[in-house]
Symmetry: C2
Subunit: 270 residues, 2 copies
């Protein structure tokens, strides 16, 4: 059996943390963690029992794979200061083309797990889709082994496809979470009920689309453009014009999309 | 032990179906199901083994409680044709004031479960918040017994509060589901991946807010207003101006809301 590649993590945020934890559990040696922020570097290094640095020019040269899990805006600035000795460098960003890495090394690729991560929430990687890409068949097989070792759902995706997956994820995760925030605020302002009253509804809404397509699962006043309810809701949002506009826009879009594909199904209550 | 009240269901849609199923399981005698649509009435009546009618003037007069689970727009038209002999009449609508029932009977109330229902998906009612209201203490105790018999989370809510809960539910459920639909469409148009790649992300997004508030859980390019990514995404949505506008509006609103409350937390990857 070949020795597993030795890793260096560049970044110690949400994704870096979870990825370092799971790969280290799977036996990959992590030689070093880099982060600009000492506290954050030390926290991750402590969890996986390895050294850390806050100096990007001091990366461990013995690594086989450098995994850069940084925010997009920091990526190039950090990479341009590092030396990779033409070792394999991976980034984990949805919307950054793979080729930006060609400036820094001859061997590169992308490792993009389609999931939202927190430092404190452990995740089961086994069912998380990982989208990978690489600049050569040899590098691809290294990235694929890494991905296969933690997930059962690994796809090859080029940078264009990955960008679209990231866009889809923004709707499915970031924007969805923001709707939760708006809903929670409305419940809170209502006074007498804990925001937790929303959780069963939120859970069921997510579970439902395991069995139905989201178009089939759509319920609520907007599907039938129930003007009476919609107008009342818009009026209730008078004091928050931004949220009112979001309500108006999404309602109209639901009616446009679901009205076109589904004019007949009876929806007695959403 | 007192005999359980005998029920008549007016409506046979998603909520009527699930509510009739659970109450009938709990031992409540269901005397009759009414629906305008024979197929739908027969389907529900078959499930709980009771007669049905499509003639609203032929409601069983022996019932103690009439539960109207109809779409808002049909409610008053149907009620105005029925005879309730001043028995207890409940509606199940989020945005309909209780008092509209006073035209039809001297005894009335509201039974509003905060959940999304499908005819085909069984639900565990025990953790579903039910918001109830009634026009007298006697009627309230009947409604409360009904609610307590199926749910551990029963609240009294007046019509104003219920309207706001319904508005919150539209964001947390109906609009959220529509974001799933937009995300699924983007993945589908991308060609090579099944829409199921979104499910772990959707599930985790819902699970996360059991532990974190939605404001704390917020990730993604909009939190840090990453103009580079946001502009790319907006450009990708050029062919669908409505979705582009939804993207733009929600991104700005996330930045406004989360920027104000959380300017410091580092979010290395959403």
């Amino acid at each position: 059996m070949m020795a597993l590649p030795r890793l260096v993590f560049i970044g110690s945020g949400n994704l870096a943390t979870q990825l370092a934890l799971v790969l280290s559990e799977k036996g990959y040696p992590v030689l070093l963690v880099y982060s600009r922020t000492e506290e954050s570097a030390a926290a991750l290094a402590g969890k996986i029992n390895c050294p850390y640095t806050t100096d990007i020019t001091l990366l461990d040269a013995r690594a086989d794979v450098y995994i850069c899990a940084l925010k997009d805006s920091a990526l190039q600035a950090v990479l341009s200061q590092a030396s990779f000795h033409d070792k394999l460098v991976l980034h984990t960003a949805g919307s950054v083309p793979m080729d930006i890495l060609s400036e820094y090394t001859a061997n590169y690729g992308v490792f993009y797990p389609l999931q939202t991560f927190s430092k404190s929430r452990p995740v089961d990687f086994s069912n998380i889709p990982v989208f990978i890409e690489s600049n050569s068949p040899e590098n691809f097989s290294v990235v694929k082994s890494l991905a296969d070792s933690i997930s059962n759902v690994v796809y090859e995706a080029d940078s264009e496809q990955r960008k679209k997956l990231h866009l889809a994820a923004v709707f499915a995760c970031n924007f969805t979470n923001h709707l939760y925030a708006i809903a929670a605020k409305i419940v809170k302002e209502n006074g007498d009920f804990p925001v937790e009253v929303l959780l069963p509804l939120i859970d069921e809404t997510a579970k439902k689309i395991h069995a139905l397509s989201p178009l089939e699962a759509q319920t609520g006043p907007a599907v039938r453009y129930d003007k009476n309810v919609i107008d009342k809701h818009l009026e209730m949002l008078n004091s928050d014009k931004d949220v009112q506009q979001i309500y108006d826009l999404i309602s109209k879009h639901i009616y446009t999309v679901n009205g076109m594909i589904d004019g007949t199904v009876s929806k007695e209550r959403g």
